[in-house]
Symmetry: C2
Subunit: 349 residues, 2 copies
Amino acid sequence: MTRIDDVARLAGVSTATVSRALRGLPTVSAATRRRVLAAAEQLDYEVSPSASRLAGGRTGTVAVVVPRITRWFFSTVVEAVEEYLHESGYDLLLYNLGGREQVRQRVLRTANLHKRVDAMMLVATPLRPADLTALASLDLPGVTISSGSRVPRWPCVRIDDVAAARTATRHLLDLGHHRIAHISGDPDDELAFTTHLDRRRGYQAELRAAGLPLDPSLDVESTFTIDGGNRATAELLARGGAPPTAILAACDEMAMGAMTALRDAGLRVPQDVSVIGIDDHDLAGVLGLSTVAQPAAEQGRLAARILLDPLGARTLGPVVGQRGAGHDTPVILPTRLVVRDSTAPPRAH
Amino acid sequence: MTRIDDVARLAGVSTATVSRALRGLPTVSAATRRRVLAAAEQLDYEVSPSASRLAGGRTGTVAVVVPRITRWFFSTVVEAVEEYLHESGYDLLLYNLGGREQVRQRVLRTANLHKRVDAMMLVATPLRPADLTALASLDLPGVTISSGSRVPRWPCVRIDDVAAARTATRHLLDLGHHRIAHISGDPDDELAFTTHLDRRRGYQAELRAAGLPLDPSLDVESTFTIDGGNRATAELLARGGAPPTAILAACDEMAMGAMTALRDAGLRVPQDVSVIGIDDHDLAGVLGLSTVAQPAAEQGRLAARILLDPLGARTLGPVVGQRGAGHDTPVILPTRLVVRDSTAPPRAH
DNA sequence: CTGAAAGCGCTTACAG
DNA sequence: CTGAAAGCGCTTACAG
């Protein structure tokens, strides 16, 4: 393994100069830099990350925490983040909470994390008071995605979930629906999402704005998954009374489950019941699912940029201390209605 | 930040002893270990990974390389691997190739990787001769998943793709189909998968075994995606001649695209055309897609275990050198036919 | 079972 | 613009 002294010797300079030249610090003459780079190249030298981290106090690594990497939104975010981080010379340490509370605690409350990473990104990870205390004492730069997780002084990138649900509801109202059901996430969800709360508020607000009553029997809580949507819809149909003519699912995955449940009940979409989701999942097109699209990859990319910019990506010069003060206003990305085949006017009676 | 000397002082021992006690090495008396653990606890001490890595030469980190984290198979594998690694005390560095050839090269051919990780896992990452040379010189332990990537001396976990395709084809034959089309991946796919080659061989083998001719007009290449399946099916239908009565898609995502294309062409599944995939994607159930299921999470978990076992997980004692010699036989996990609503006997003419 | 000491391979004030 | 030297915080032979 060639070390920095080998390069220094070959280039005829000190290891300090090699270190500076290789990291592109400005305090190296052009001629010296050339010599150092040539020597490093010739010896196939690569800096040792461990040594560099120990001496320099920076890890060149970012921790990315997601609830479940298998879900559309999170894998899409991670893909975009991964690309941005690696292009900026950072490594990505992945933490998938997977609904395991003890994992959540280990990740969020370990005093250890700050020695492993320079910064962290939390995607839709709800934070309890104890988590916030732990994160504050870590004193790491960070960023969150989604309204579900807010950390004081950390920037946040998200969509307006209330508005997204209003848009979806308005679409159904515009088609002439009056009995609009809502299926959404459960507070007891193991992943402890909170996104569904905002979406429910949007649903309710839009109904109220249209002068329609809120019928509790049309509002079913379940988990934020395909299966959850399936069960919620089955429950909705089993409740008796006039069935809804349309369903707003809190996310596309729930909407897909709803479509299955309706099909199993012998109901056609959209002839008998309209269904709309929120997200614009990869498969929404295949299923002909109308939805309110949110830009997942852009949220990831933007959050990565906001996180890294103040760290001085790639150059890895000395740390400059501006830890994004004043980032207390979330960056809100736009959503848009995508009408496909799962929504139509209600049947005339 | 409390350091190892602080603990040593409080416990009244040397730093060497603290180091040994904390890592659970056997050469520490029970009483001493207790004292050290108490001191560490009291001081809230966490070892510095950089220092530990530099001194010990092990990183406690594994690189996991996937073609696209957004696809069902890869996110499912990564989720299982992440859980196993973290439970074993290892960190996971994620590399998503994303079809970017230069990224592939940077990841696979960088002389740097071996200073960042103790081992690596390659999931369905095809390897060129130059990659193999680079990996060999890294001299890292590794494991691969999927038949698409084989590295000499690295264990491999996979399914039998030929057999999976044969099973799917046989199901269609058993239903009475004779004109069975195949849509599969393209050698020009940016991700350079090769899985589809085995699956095509299975399709052909089973047809031959049934005494049926191979009709090239029923075999369409496309990309391994929903959109690819959509386009391949459209092309199939546009070719004129008798249309197939059944389609075997090389993966579920292609099968989903096929279902869309058929629907767009006014054909019903399975009344007019049967469709079967391979994978058992999360959404296969929602779509009623018949398929041959492969155990994605188990492949990930097993590969992680095979990779870590010889490294002596968690204990992090001195490295013992047995680098899985004799692992030249892939571990093959079973697949199984899952019949849903997308396959049925062909219509009587 | 335990400790003193060297060493892992860099980066960073500090001085010039 | 460059170098000598200290130091980052551990682990590991080695000796006992």
